[in-house]
Subunit: 421 residues, 2 copies
């Protein structure tokens, strides 16, 4: 493949073969060509930080001062302090993992400050052995790690509005993050408690002041749920459920109960506020969806995206994230012409089940107006819907489980807007 | 498999089948059996943090106050301020990734505070195009992520001492950490510079006050090296090379130049201090090893380990980390009797090349004296050596590339010591 071939778009709007960069070097016309070597010698070109010893070491490192804008935006509820959201700034991140300090939060009553020596987990109800576990007990159990995304069932809900919201991708779709979670397979603890045959549900309760309760089918708990103690290597942080939380891979964030203190085995769900008044959806038919657990296949372009401006025509990388609560991502297609033509993006290896998958594709922008979109398909064959199809199926008044295609419009000046296309 | 079968050791000293826990529930006799449900109701058993709203949200989260002991220990050199080590506390971590705040550091002259707008990368020497890249330029290039460990060539060097050091595993073997690194394949940048045929080496220089220089063979640079901008999702932190560092998968840490500012293509290595006076090793034959780049296959048990005490006889999980600079880990065997018998541990999936691999195996301790060891084999068939074999090959006065088996002695009281066995 020569440079000319590499630069031949394979879809309209300038999308290039995802392997173009690997097969043939391209001139990006981005770097500055320098003619003199003088710049390069240690004697010249020395920056001020090379002239003196650097800062002292630290026991626990922090991001660079120049990156202090990379934070979670927080949104609180004036009428209910402690209720709100901390959004993951997806537009600033690369790869698939979310640093612990930037993992999204959906707060119900603030962040409890739990003494791990006093915290206990109770498993009771329809079991032969009611068991109480201290943290010290649990640390002796066999651990298991899984790589999985968490997404709030209400993520992206601004996209149900009739007008497209103009905000950074992270403050719109950033109630989704991804970690390596390590803990004890819930099955081990339930087997030790000896669950009775009549039990079909777990009613799980958190130890914060909102005392969140949710109902989880026993089959799911035995399949792949985890009582997590570690996130991305270290112990879970307070905002993520210290000292322990439930991980329910691929299902709504609200089920992943933080600060978990009690698992009650029952024949019926508890019908708590978060499974009746909230997290249910009225459909056009007049019926309501309830227990809509699985987070369906979804993707979005994180760069370029709202808030950035393309400085000049040239080659850019389009990148974003895809995920599905039903398994692995099979493919992500990208369009630069509002969905008329599509080209398959490269997926970051290894592609893991119920985990963020990073996609990337090169794009040659020649200064034209463009609409960038991504569309993911998972291994079950489920494909991310167009917005009009989602609205037709679910009505105009949705709030939860928005997973339609996201569109970024590029102007001839390189400015980027969120549009419905 | 019934409980009795599950508890039948498959190797001496009480090592159990690594699948025992998954196939059959075991009574750990760790949890407390409770007879009354009263404890469990929300009206009783309410902890103080359930009685009031929790703490406010934060823009960038921090570890729990109760986990403040989980830090990098730092060791400085009184005679050369800015020279030292920050150790990763491996004994406190689980899974395979190291949080950015706890990634190890080998400091040469402190931590430079670099303004990313002023920092530039120069590629010059035996190239047709001498190129200068700003950070803004680089952010437009195609990115790639790799999961890889970094290990200092001098990690574990206390094990060359004639007496076994008594310290936590992280303050002994903790110049090793693992991350998701994201950046630009070095091949792309070198291809754009058009490397001349005579060039065989990269001489890479960092922008700190020590102005570290190292030599890296061109073949390795074209194979899998990365100019990394992101670590575990976010931009690299100052201590790890902000705004950019080299990643040289599987090779000595010192080659992964932080704050990289200059890559000089040359026909010969530079023969800098760190490849002549340091990072070379006198062998029993009188010859010295030089350019010993690859970090060989290695493993160690992180729990239980020095500093912990087994509270009572019972079932424990033995867990640790294995890695190899030559590729994937093929297997890790564990011994509870000082190496007389071995049993294969479970490896955390997916097993990735040149990346930490977590291993785990259940162990029933009946109060006997025991010596715990792990022994890794990589996909090339290379196996971690016994200490006596390493010393026979490399002499008594080694300092670099220690990768022998690590032994923890358990006393009848459950106390744990480091021994040479």
């Amino acid at each position: 493949m020569n440079e000319q071939q590499a630069l031949t778009p394979l879809a309209a709007g300038g999308l290039l073969d995802r392997r173009a960069f690997l097969q043939r070097s391209l001139s990006f016309s981005v770097a500055t060509l320098v003619s003199s070597e003088a710049l390069a010698t240690p004697e010249n070109g020395r920056e001020p930080w090379m002239e003196k010893p650097g800062a002292p070491f630290s026991n626990y490192g922090e991001p660079a001062a120049h990156e202090r804008h990379v934070i979670r935006w927080t949104m609180g509820n004036d009428k209910a302090l402690g209720n709100g959201v901390s959004w993951t700034p997806l537009q600033n991140l690369e790869g698939i993992f979310t640093p612990n300090g930037l993992h999204f939060e959906r707060h119900h009553n603030g962040v409890p400050q739990i003494d791990p020596k006093q915290h206990k987990l109770l498993i009771h109800g329809l079991v032969n052995n009611s068991l109480v576990f201290t943290l010290e007990d649990l640390l002796r159990y066999p651990m298991h790690s899984c790589y999985c995304f968490l997404e709030c069932g209400g993520n992206s809900n601004a996209a149900w509005h009739s007008e497209p919201i103009q905000t950074a991708v992270g403050y719109f779709h950033g109630m989704a993050s991804c970690s390596e979670w390590t803990g004890i397979p819930l099955k081990l603890l339930l087997d030790e408690a000896q669950v009775k045959g009549r039990a079909k549900w777990l009613i799980v309760e958190g130890a914060d002041a909102s005392m969140m309760q949710v109902s989880i089918p026993l089959d799911k708990a035995l399949d792949d749920c985890l009582l997590a103690l570690y996130q991305n290597g270290e112990r879970i942080r307070p905002e993520n459920g210290y000292p322990m939380r439930l991980i329910v891979p691929g299902w709504e964030g609200v089920l992943n109960v933080k600060w978990v203190r009690r698992i009650h085995l029952a024949a019926q769900p508890v019908m708590a506020r978060n499974e009746t008044a909230k997290y249910t959806e009225l459909l056009p038919s007049g019926k309501a969806r309830q227990f809509t657990y699985v987070m369906e296949v979804k993707s979005l372009i994180t760069q370029p995206s709202f808030g950035y401006k393309l400085p000049q025509p040239g080659i850019y990388q389009i990148t974003g994230l895809a995920w599905s609560g039903r398994g692995k991502i099979a493919k992500v297609e990208v369009s630069a012409d509002g969905g008329k033509t599509w080209l398959e993006a490269e997926l970051q290896e290894p592609v893991l089940s119920k985990c963020f998958t990073r996609f990337r594709i090169p794009w040659q922008w020649q200064g034209q107006e463009a609409i960038l979109q991504s569309r993911a398909t998972d291994e079950t064959g489920a494909r991310q819907p167009a917005r009009e199809h989602l609205l037709a199926a679910r009505g105009q008044h949705g709030y939860f489980h928005y997973n339609a295609i996201v569109s970024w419009e590029i102007s001839a000046q390189g400015e980027i807007k969120h549009v419905y296309a």
